[in-house]
Symmetry: C2
């Protein structure tokens, strides 16, 4: 058995890499991933064979990683954030599923020892930068309708808004589409006040990181790009100032209300 480590390196540089992920990368000979993510790993990539593929060729990358490990090369498949959340890990298992069905060649894949290593996802760092917006019940929804019917996404938006979940939007816009985020704002405004805090976090963990708090009513697709994660607060989320800082947090319950009443 040859290992295939399926690794989320966290947002931005290697500050969010976990100990086990660092050790796994040190142990492999081959790394498959988008070139930028390999560059972000810095010295950890020294001496590794790099297998770069452009964004959009994600199934090819997952297949290549399985094939490399099947050929006896200890391999890491990497992506930004948590590779298990809206990212590449699921493609690896979809390929195994297809191989079972005879839709993939899958030669030697049964000799691959797959181990998935979670990473810090963008919403977690966005939350941490400004406090703890994810402190109570939350959802994560991808607004990309490339592979998911819009009706399903819209149903989920309505369910999450009505259920008063803090909500993180992944893929809020793309080069080709931006109306979904404005539609989402409209849905949430039906259930939450216009001043509900929203975190807009761009390029997390990189030099040009920018994280801001806006009101739900101000959320607008033109302020957001592909490298942004958007997190909408629930009805109990608080936006406060303390000293020179501002913070956004969602209380775990009603303790505060009891104190106040």
């Amino acid at each position: 058995m040859t290992p295939l480590y399926v690794i989320g390196i966290g947002p931005g540089d290697h500050a969010h890499l976990t100990m086990e992920a660092e050790a796994a990368i040190a142990a492999v000979t081959d790394v498959v991933g988008y070139g930028l993510y390999m560059d972000l790993l810095g010295d950890a990539m020294t001496g590794k064979r790099r297998h770069q593929r452009e964004l959009g060729e994600e199934t090819d990358r997952a297949r290549m990683a399985l094939d490399l490990a099947a050929s006896g090369k200890p391999t890491a498949l990497i992506s930004s954030g948590d590779i298990g959340i809206f990212a590449m890990a699921t493609l690896v298992f979809e390929l195994l599923d297809h191989a079972n069905q005879g839709l993939e060649n899958g030669r030697g894949w049964d000799r691959v020892d797959i181990q998935v290593m979670p990473g810090i996802s963008a919403m977690q760092l966005a939350s941490a930068r400004l406090g703890a917006i994810l402190g109570h019940d939350f959802c994560a929804i991808s607004l990309s309708d490339l592979l998911t019917d819009w009706e399903v996404i819209d149903q989920r938006l309505n369910a999450a808004a009505k259920g008063d979940f803090v909500t993180a939007f992944y893929n809020p816009v793309s080069k080709r589409r931006d109306w979904q985020l404005n539609h989402a704002r409209t849905v949430y405004l039906e259930h939450r006040p216009p001043e509900t805090p929203v975190i807009v976090a761009r390029n997390l963990g990189r030099d040009d990181e920018r994280v801001e708090v806006i009101a739900l009513a101000e959320l607008e697709a033109s302020r957001v790009d592909m490298l942004t994660v958007v997190v909408i607060g629930s009805s109990t989320t608080r936006h406060i100032r303390f000293g020179r800082n501002e913070w956004v947090y969602t209380p775990r319950g009603y303790a505060k209300k009891r104190v106040e009443s």
Copy 2:
């Protein structure tokens, strides 16, 4: 300004600690947290002043951490998993909020430089151990009604079940209550097939870790304890076998359906 690092150390031992969290712990003189979590950090705790408090005294711990930093001691407040997700970070900001309102003394807290560092949350490791159940839209819900009215929790369960979200349950049971999880199963069975895969993961990252896949119809509070996270699949989640392994993943879209049709 003296730093207060609010750090999620990940589930179990330090394998899931991030680079920045490791560096932050190395830089402080004082660590506040539950004793077990400090023990799990091993050598990283050498030479640190330990401020242990029992579980249940969480507000005391957060206040102590702020006070230590306010007195000029670089301090880390730690918890298992992601401290920003159903954990202690939110209490720190609630205390600042209360200090603004005159409900806390808060002496010197404006001299504290708070930095939250996210960690791997239990649902992420549960998902990774068996593949990628969190690969598409998901929710996280705490089933504890200690601080949240049951009506709110029940509304969220119904919204998430109807919205076809993969759903992670935190605090699925406690010593005093277990009916909430069985109720949740009933709600989900109204919207999903009885064979829907469910991951039950106990003691993640520790020596006696146990992770299993069961069918939704088999989910039962008596199989679960306080140290367990439960993740229910969506209608598209797949449970497959490949070679000697089993995997659970949620596809990102309908690519597979297109191939199959």
